[in-house]
Symmetry: D2
Subunit: 468 residues, 4 copies
């Protein structure tokens, strides 16, 4: 995808040793899921302590901060960027003191009935100290009378109230839980180390910590981890699942395996199916790095067209920088991605990217390629046109921003100045994922939402959200 788009990431640890080096490294593994803030809450034997703040993991956790962490259980979070001055106050984990003890929570996802719940409890006289969904979840949890005696039941009670997408790591006193919403929108898995168990948004954490992959937390499940064991509470299901296809298409690391599907392999499949669905006569396939590479390789193999790197990506310009000169600012895309001429010149290109949201960057890339001598530029996209907002944790909130809103594929092609444009079909994407369509959230490309969203269509016409 050409624009920045982010989710969040969570981890949780229950070890027989200090979690400090483990949780620090785990958060760095999932740093791609959120670069705005990072935080850790740990139980030091007496109370829950929290270290959090704005910045990348290694900026928040300077050596003296890592050294300060002293606990065998804890949870952590990386957070994506949001606008506004309140940003610094929304860093996670968040914590509460209740009658029976302290709790902490880290959240990946969006609660779709957050406003409704917020209003409901505002009406009951509640006051909210932050504007985050996470406070709602944690406050509901702390309202459960048996939260500390039967935390699994308390958590289940809360999950029966909140709708939408959530993968959570929770500390209740010194006990650590992982929770995944009944639809399984966002990933969450369990890993094992010689020193204990842990939870993480992505399985790559297991690899880097040199642990063993135990299992995904199934949709609707509550998992408690201890240094010695995991306990899985009998799953309550939503009937069907709704794994966000975007996790594989764009968010997740290529080396992560979520719900049995490896990101890299899914992207490769997408590319291959895209080649079948939208064939083109061309000389070379090039990806938009980094996320388009696997798509591109799949396309190349299936089409028989040779694969090449066509763009150099500058590693050092991740953070945008405001330049005093408007004219130079326009060149910001070229500072990030620059064509490799030998690949481009005199060639008919297939440019493969993971998805299109606004289309502005892609338009610049196409023009850049033409300037570098491409004779034809055919764009192929590994995700159907995005036409509907996401209410489940992806920062695509408004139809206004989507280039595909009220535009035909031909019109979009013209807009981005491509010779041709092809999107994978919804069916193709489902096939690439090799999961039942009914177990996927495809709302952003179909407009059919897996849960009730006021003003939007439901995935299954006959089904009411209250039925499960």
């Amino acid at each position: 995808m050409s624009g920045p788009k982010h989710s969040c990431g969570v981890v949780g640890f229950a070890l027989n040793t200090n979690i400090a080096p483990y949780i620090f490294k785990a958060l760095r593994v999932i740093q791609h899921r959120g670069q705005e803030s990072a935080g850790v809450s740990y139980h030091d034997g007496e109370t829950i302590e929290t270290i959090k703040g704005p910045g990348l993991v290694h900026e928040v956790f300077l050596p003296e901060k890592i050294m300060a962490i002293d606990g065998k259980v804890g949870i952590g979070h990386v957070r994506y960027s949001t606008a506004g001055s309140k940003a610094s106050m929304n860093s996670q984990p968040i914590t509460v003191d209740t009658l029976h003890g302290q709790m902490a929570l880290a959240h990946n996802g969006d609660i779709t009935n957050a406003d409704e719940l917020r209003n409901e409890y505002l009406k009951k006289g509640w006051a909210f100290l932050t504007d985050s969904d996470s406070e709602i979840i944690l406050r509901l949890l702390s309202k459960e009378p048996n939260c500390f005696h039967d935390p699994v039941k308390a958590i289940k009670n809360v999950t029966s109230i909140i709708d939408g997408a959530y993968s959570l790591t929770i500390m209740i006193g010194d006990r650590v839980f992982g929770v995944r919403d009944p639809y399984g929108f966002r990933p969450l898995c369990v890993g094992k180390l010689p020193e204990g168990y842990f939870l993480a948004s992505e399985s790559a954490v297991v690899d880097v910590l040199q642990g063993e992959f135990v299992c995904d937390v199934a949709p609707g499940e509550v998992v408690e981890i201890t240094p010695e064991s995991i306990k899985i509470a009998p799953s309550r299901s939503a009937g069907n699942k709704a794994h966000c296809m975007f996790e594989w298409v764009y968010f997740a690391r290529p080396d992560s395996i979520m719900d049995g599907r490896e990101t890299y392999q899914v992207r490769r499949n997408i590319g291959a199916i895209l080649a079948q669905e939208c064939p083109v006569d061309a000389d070379v396939v090039i990806p938009v790095p980094d996320s388009g590479r696997a798509h591109g390789l799949g396309f190349a193999e299936a089409s028989g067209i040779s694969y090449e790197e066509g763009f150099m990506k500058n590693r050092h310009v991740e953070r945008t920088f405001i330049l005093p000169d408007q004219k130079q600012r326009e060149g910001a895309v070229s500072l990030k991605l620059n064509p490799i001429k030998s690949t481009i010149k005199g060639r008919r290109l297939v440019v493969v990217d993971d998805s299109i949201v606004r289309g502005t960057t892609l338009r610049k890339l196409v023009q850049m390629l033409r300037k570098a001598g491409a004779t034809e530029v055919h764009v192929r996209i590994g995700c159907p046109p995005i036409i509907s907002p996401c209410y489940y944790g992806v920062d695509m909130k408004s139809r206004d921003q989507f280039v595909a809103t009220n535009r035909s594929v031909e019109e979009i092609a013209e807009l981005i100045t491509a010779d041709s444009l092809g999107y994978i079909s919804k069916e193709g994407l489902v096939k690439a994922l090799d999961l039942p369509e009914n177990d996927l959230c495809l709302a952003c490309v179909t407009g059919k939402y897996p849960t009730n969203i006021p003003g939007e269509s439901h995935r299954f016409q006959s089904r009411l959200d209250s039925e499960f």
Copy 2:
């Protein structure tokens, strides 16, 4: 006083122009009341925005942050230092969203029944997101059903529940209020500018903003300020007041006038009375800078002994710094204060300081003076021996730390190696303040508390806290 000891400071503004430069400067004027964190909440016309963080005012409010402030009403806070990793989460103002709108609060003081209230509401199922008294006050306020319709009544309802010391600035929506507890422990005053009205912990803010002093907020009063007017809600009184004598003795700026008494003048009176109560035959009076200067001048004039500066104070070593070498660390006091030899050598000295808590620094100063050639060192202290903890906002919480606990004046003199030691009497202090004893809080030197503190004696034997 020889050790650091802090309170907090609050301000509030309602102007017909952007408050940014005013509130920034106002917070810098009261920076001495808290150096750990600083913050501002302002109403931008639609919502309440907050900028806050650890550091001095000018460190938190870098130019781009000041520029970001865009509101005509707002409140601000400077906070004293506390131990522990939660420090960063307790910076103020704190804010809440309620059914009827947003509120923000900044607090100077300590709520004596905070634990009790916290427990009461924990038992009702509340969860607290911070461990600060301020959250309790703000949550209680947000529980008031008519908070936005009749804020004064709502505030009064809350003040009937909370005990202890509080000077508050509160924003309810875009309305700004100042509140002072019924005893008036901590100061709060109102000032006027051509652009509107403001609240501040100390009157020095009025001077520096080149405004006019309007009045002190009277104990028990609720004041609403607008750009055009102030409205004072009929005072509800505690019968007697309990102004913290320490504000004049140590905390407040010498140029501030609180409840009709200027800090400098009170200190000067203290010095004069001390000279009468504890006379001594000596050659020269020297103050411990900076707070001891006025005391010293009063002593000198009353005693006829000449006044000199005896210590050089290094302005650049306010923040302590951990040195790798223990031996060198011991010299830290001398890095801060070093004797001026011509004043000291061969002289019989009267050293005047505002108060003694632990006595450790004073002991080092006495020894430093002897090494510099003083023939006699007589110590005179502008505050009676501190023997009881403060529950109203001064960081003197434990009897263990007081050198005067279970020690006679002679024993303390010996401990600090002084030739003689004299404290002002309680009566002398009251006289210096020129306020009725019953309108002062002298608990730390008498052990008699103006409000009910479990396990401590009450100021008026017959009086119950519930009576007023």
Copy 3:
């Protein structure tokens, strides 16, 4: 290559407008050539001003620093990391005041007779304020009596004294020059903008600034740029050239074209020749990202073995971070590179990397791949075994560090635990570069140096360095 290995980068501008946004962006384009420090010297109409310091370009040039740059001519530098506390004092450009004016210089390369020259001038009573080669060059230049009247001649006089590798940008007063050593070890090119001319280490700068590529500075040439023109001083040649092959193998951006050869294409050729020279029966070719990708693609095409991404590279861990736990520190490689299981599992792999210096990282990668299920791991390297130190600007100074020192290929294979290991031959590398062997510096892989290095063999037996 698996370990960090760096050079430096230089730029120079002569425009009819303020260089600030251009030089900032240009330095970011070549940021990969040096991450330790960055700097700019510019002529503001009266004097040469310099802004420089430790950090990445965007860290040194915060907005207010960019805004402070106000000049139409200037030079810039990015510097690689060196050990030692003097690091901060060696950032470039360096400047001198001379009788006739001010000069500034930025340097990429190593002067091989620096110690000799330093000693010669130390004996003449000179004192050096830094320990950098650059000071020597600049001091020699400032010794030239006609430096400001005939700068080209002065520069030539200096280049007749200094040996080794140097691509320089120089400001003499407000005139800007580019200089390349007679062998052309390091790259340097000229670009054109509507606003004037510029010099840069790599041609990618031309692309990103949306300028036109004019030419490479030829070995031995001195080029003066103005907003309107370039003047090239008649080249003095070393007879043969000695372009560092490592620029294409590892340093330079894939999208840069140096001396007529594009990095990406050269790497692709290397891969193809490597496939012919060291064939292997395998299932899949995977590169070590990022620099190994082009090599891998070339190998795959030539061998007919399919190409896949086999490693996920974490973008956020460029800067190493010292962890408190030794055991965890060992996992640092896996934090950076993690296998993609679907590519690896049950496969016979060809892993293609650009070069091997120490071999420690590669050993870890091989083991990581085996753990991920690879049945065979064959390593192919796009550069012959490195056996001799570099004296021309690459941070490979000691034979002790080279895994290939006194080891056969089989022994190295065993050490890195690979099933087989193949290096491209020198001949193959030369062919891939498509440049005469005599115009390349291959000293690190042949031990034959293009210039006289005491204790090392010369490239041409019969040739004396003094002959040209």
Copy 4:
């Protein structure tokens, strides 16, 4: 003095243990002499290493930097602020490599023939890497052939060439020297610790390190310190001395004793003489803190008028801060100094300050006092009118900036809106210092310079600079 005005400070250590904690603390003691940058050069047994940079001592020497210092000999420097972007490159100590070894130098003062020497050596083909006087001194020293064999002779040779003000600490290899110019413009003294000897700009360092004061370095002397001894090279005198009177009037700490005169005592004397020379009928004497306090006390005692503190000084606003609103910016003085009303109101005041340069701040203070209710404001200044620039290290370079240039005392009084204004006479100042007039530099108030300054008058008409 009402405006900031600075010099620099130097230290040097030769101990039998690591100098790190000692030199760090010593630099903090003299922090008031320079707040722009700080640095230390130490000999680690093999080479001279340097740590320096912009900021206060504790900002440059963060704990890890202090820990990095590992040497038994070293020199240090604090530097005053100068305008311009080159500031960061002029931090000291500066170091050179010469044929026979390394040297480092730290400098307090100004070399009056620096431009001349610079030009002389520029003509000889030298190039200067900085624009500081210190480079000239160090380069001249390094030119001395026997610098390492007979350093004292080499230093003397250099001091016979350079004119003006200099107190230096020098490291030649691992030997440490202190040097003071023949006129003794700037202070320098020797202290003794159990661990060895040290040099420092002010004697307060001796106190804080709890060492023994050994002696001042006499004008013209070269002193070598070792852990066991000091060696003083036979003094070469300028005949008369020229101690800068401003050191006592404003720069130096009140607790420092320089050339036998304690700052505090001199200031007190000044105040007393001022009272005799410019008597006034008034109610109270108030100082401009901090430097005016001793002057004020002297004035009060001599005049019999009572002394009071009249201004509160805000400790937290040392660094100026640019406010977005011009109107508010004007209030910056009041943020720093605010009147204490009880002292001021209805009173006839004598305001005592150390000196007047521009007069702008003083004008604001007078107006502030009137606004606070002063009935009369009489200003008394402890230094004669400043009418001539300083060429010896005080940042008063231009006659344009002096309020006293071409103005009578009455005109100045009117300008600063004072009821009366009195300056101490030159004779009074000399008397207060109790040193022969011929041993003082009074150039800034007399226009007669102790050394030859082109275009300025010489102190002794008949004397040529070349005579001594």
